[in-house]
């Protein structure tokens, strides 16, 4: 491990509310006998495009759920722009837009109704909601399917409509769990453009993914999580050093096996 990397074990300095979009301190969660998240510290600088990478079951989703107020942590604290998510949830949720992974949507609504619903639930004005819904549907290329029930959407369209629901109230921090999974390349590129311009205008984004290439290309910061702890965190260049992010990831997480055992699989 190179020396300029912040070590997860040494305590991070106290957060400065304005410079840090999301600040996580000592977050931990146990499910039965399994410790899913083991005291995570993380700082997402304001205006950054932050990647959260880790193998399956590393605790990414659990961490993000706790950070966004969906899952009550056993220990720890989360601040969104200086607002404590668990002490002051209403105020924090106004700043947060989230796209959870592996949950259902109210899929018997049409796409248009679902996004409108998300806006109205937040107490937004109906006229504002209506015009933003149309903008979002156009930007995400869903205008033609706005009147189709979400249950009849493809997986990629479902991701996009959920993203639209997360964007409707113009949050300051977007937390996206696996946003590009099963999204076609064109839509993925559109989503990336939207997110990048969102970051350029001062918003912050945190995405979880296990596609290293993607994270290396679109993110400026990255944290590697495995077995519920942060193995490395910092700017992408700091974390990856000289090699690619994927090599660095494999080096940190381990567990590569060689393909020598499958000699019979060679067809010639």
């Amino acid at each position: 491990m190179s020396s300029q990397l912040p070590q997860p074990s040494e305590p991070l300095p106290a957060h400065q509310p304005e410079a840090v979009a999301l600040s996580i301190r000592g977050l931990a969660k146990r499910f039965g006998s399994k410790i899913a998240v083991n005291g995570i510290d993380l700082d997402v600088p304001a205006g950054s495009f932050y990647g959260l990478v880790g193998p399956n079951g590393a605790g990414k989703t659990t961490t993000l759920s706790m950070a966004t107020g969906l899952l009550r942590p056993d220990f720890g604290q989360t601040m969104v722009h200086g607002v404590d998510v668990w002490k002051n949830p209403l105020q924090a949720k106004k700043l947060l837009g989230i796209l959870p992974d592996g949950v259902r949507l109210f899929d018997r609504l049409t796409g248009e109704q679902l996004v409108t619903y998300a806006g109205l639930l937040r107490g937004m004005d109906r006229d504002v909601v209506t015009s933003r819904v149309q903008d979002l549907l156009r930007a995400l290329d869903l205008a033609g399917d706005a009147g189709t029930l979400v249950v009849d959407y493809s997986a990629g369209m479902t991701k996009k409509i959920a993203l639209a629901s997360a964007l409707i109230h113009a949050p300051r921090l977007l937390v996206l769990d696996e946003p590009f999974e099963s999204v076609d390349p064109v839509s993925a590129a559109n989503i990336r453009d939207i997110l990048r311009s969102y970051v350029n205008s001062g918003g912050s984004v945190i995405v979880s993914s296990h596609v290293m290439d993607l994270v290396q290309r679109i993110c400026d910061h990255v944290a590697v999580i495995a077995a519920g702890t942060v193995l490395a965190a910092g700017t992408v260049d700091e974390v990856r050093g000289d090699g690619s992010l994927e090599d660095r990831f494999v080096e940190l997480v381990g567990g590569r096996s060689t393909a020598e055992g499958l000699s019979w699989l060679r067809t010639s």
Binding site: K94, L96, R104, F106, E112, Q113, Y117, L121, Q134, S165
Partner: protein
């Protein structure tokens, strides 16, 4: 390969039991229930051995035909009732068709219904104990009839599973097929009346059924016992041919299902129609109400209960049509009010993990509770009104209108208030979004029955003032008590509703994440 498929079915059963003790208890209860039924059946069949061969014939043929019909109809009503060996899952494996068919047939016998049918079919031989040749025929034909049950049932499942791939079909079929099931009471009533009306009715019915695939095999032992050799042969041939035809059709549909993935035809629709979201107030409460109303129309799990309410009225009409004066039929209104109010008591469980949207938007507990209650009451009040007035009108009892309206109002309003509290505090497993509304979810256990039972008791207590006034009204016959019931029903019910929304809202606010975790268990 056949053995593998049977073993797979056993493994699936065992692993599903290992997942939760609730499910194990469910299977044990189901098994005990099945054993009880089986005990009755076997005892009945043995006792039947003392009766006249004609009587035995009628009972076995009619009962057996009902069993075959049940195997065919039930999978349609409960799509997904047992899709553990869904043919679609074997698409990627190159299992020879013949072995796949045999394996799936044997697999279909594993489980409580299969075991009961098999044992009862074999026990049927006891009924013919006085006629050895017929008893042997009963053993053979009983086994064949069980095969017919499974094959016909599998044919139906396979045929609808390709259709069932389309969401619309799933939505509609799950609801529509419940109609004959609910009307089963009146139908059975009609058949019973037929039995009572003419002594020969059963024999005639059995005669007819014996020439259909449903009853042919069951009729063979009787033919042997009565010495009708030619008829026995003909019935036997009909039965075997039925099995053959069903098996052939099954292999054809299965072959097609294996190469045709389910396809869901969807028409694209553009923006512009917000439905209820455009009509109700643009507030969080209004939005929740609009969502609830939309779901009452579009989600079969909700619309099924909309359909069962009128059906219950029909059933009660038949049940209470004899005699005059007040009957069960006059109480359709209060009963409807009670059912409607209780129907949102598991609302968050019905949302399943989609509930995260409410949680992440930080919508207040009161807005959530009030919206769901408003969505229900917007059609629930007219519903309860119609179902209270019309029966009284039909049975010419309109002078009882005030007391009945009061009782309905009290039950509907207080019940809705109670549901607002219950659904914010207690969750239990319900059918998942998109599943058949009548599917019993895994792990349906004491939690569900306990919550329902205690909830109903509490509702009785909450509506006690109205109930007492109603009793006083009917005892004294004083119209004053009728009007008092109406006033108390509306006022007290209203207070209960507001209290329910308040208390439920407070619970919701403090337990939001826990609610989401609770409903995420079943997904």
């Amino acid at each position: 390969m056949v053995a593998d498929l049977v073993r797979l079915k056993f493994t699936l059963l065992r692993n599903s039991l290992r997942r939760s003790t609730g499910q194990l208890i469910g299977l044990i209860l189901g098994g005990l229930y099945g054993l009880g039924i089986l005990g009755f059946l076997v005892a009945g069949l043995v006792l039947l051995g003392a009766a006249d061969p004609e009587v035995i014939r009628s009972v076995v043929v009619i009962g057996g035909s009902a069993a075959v019909l049940g195997w065919v109809v039930i999978p349609v009503a409960a799509t997904g009732i047992d899709m553990t060996l869904d043919p679609a899952r074997f698409v990627t494996f190159a299992v020879p068709m013949r072995q796949l068919l045999t394996g799936l047939t044997l697999g279909g016998l594993i489980g409580v219904p299969g075991a009961i049918t098999l044992v009862a079919a074999l026990a049927q031989a006891f009924s013919w104990i006085r006629f050895p040749a017929a008893a042997i025929a009963a053993l053979v034909c009983g086994l064949l009839a069980v095969v017919l049950c499974v094959v016909a049932s599998r044919l139906v499942t396979t045929a609808i599973s390709s259709l069932a791939g389309t969401r619309r079909f799933r939505d509609v079929s799950g609801i529509v097929t419940i109609i004959p099931l609910v009307l089963l009471g009146p139908i059975i009533g009609g058949i019973t009346a037929g039995f009572q009306g003419s002594p020969g009715f059963a024999a005639v019915l059995a005669d007819m059924l014996a020439w259909t695939p449903l009853g042919a095999l069951w009729a063979v032992p009787a033919d042997v016992a009565l010495g009708h050799q030619v008829q026995a042969l003909l019935h036997f041939l009909i039965g075997v041919a039925s099995i053959g035809v069903c098996a052939w059709l099954w292999s054809v549909t299965l072959g097609r299902a294996l190469v045709t993935p389910a396809y869901n035809a969807v028409t694209k629709k553009g923006a512009g129609n917000l439905g209820w979201f455009g009509r109700l107030p643009g507030t969080p409460t209004g939005a929740v109400a609009a969502r609830a109303l939309t779901y009452w129309m579009r989600d079969p799990r909700y619309s099924a209960s909309l359909l069962t309410v009128p059906l219950i009225a029909v059933v009660l009409y038949f049940a209470g049509s004899q005699g005059d004066g007040l009957s069960a039929f006059s109480f359709v209104g209060p009963f409807t009010a009670f059912l409607l109010a209780w129907s949102i008591s598991a609302d968050i469980a019905y949302d399943n993990t989609a509930f995260w949207l409410h949680l992440s938007t930080g919508v207040s507990g009161q807005a959530d509770r009030a919206g769901r209650a408003a969505g229900l009451l917007m059609f629930g009040i007219p519903f309860a009104l119609v179902f209270t007035v019309v029966p009284l009108l039909v049975s010419d009892n309109l002078q009882h209108l005030p007391v009945m309206l009061g009782l309905s109002a009290g039950l509907l309003l207080a019940g809705t208030g109670l549901s607002c509290v219950v659904s914010a505090r207690y969750t239990y497993n319900v059918p998942l979004p998109g599943e058949s509304p009548f599917k019993t979810p895994p792990g349906t256990n004491f939690a569900m029955f306990g919550i329902q039972f205690v909830g109903w008791l509490v509702l009785l207590v909450l509506a006690l003032p109205e109930i007492i006034l109603t009793v006083l009204y009917f005892v004294t016959g004083d119209a004053l008590f009728g009007w008092l019931t109406l006033a108390v029903g509306i006022l007290l019910g209203g207070v209960m509703l507001v209290l329910g929304i308040r208390i439920g809202g407070r619970w919701y606010d403090s337990r939001g994440p826990e609610l989401l975790s609770a409903v995420s268990v079943n997904k």
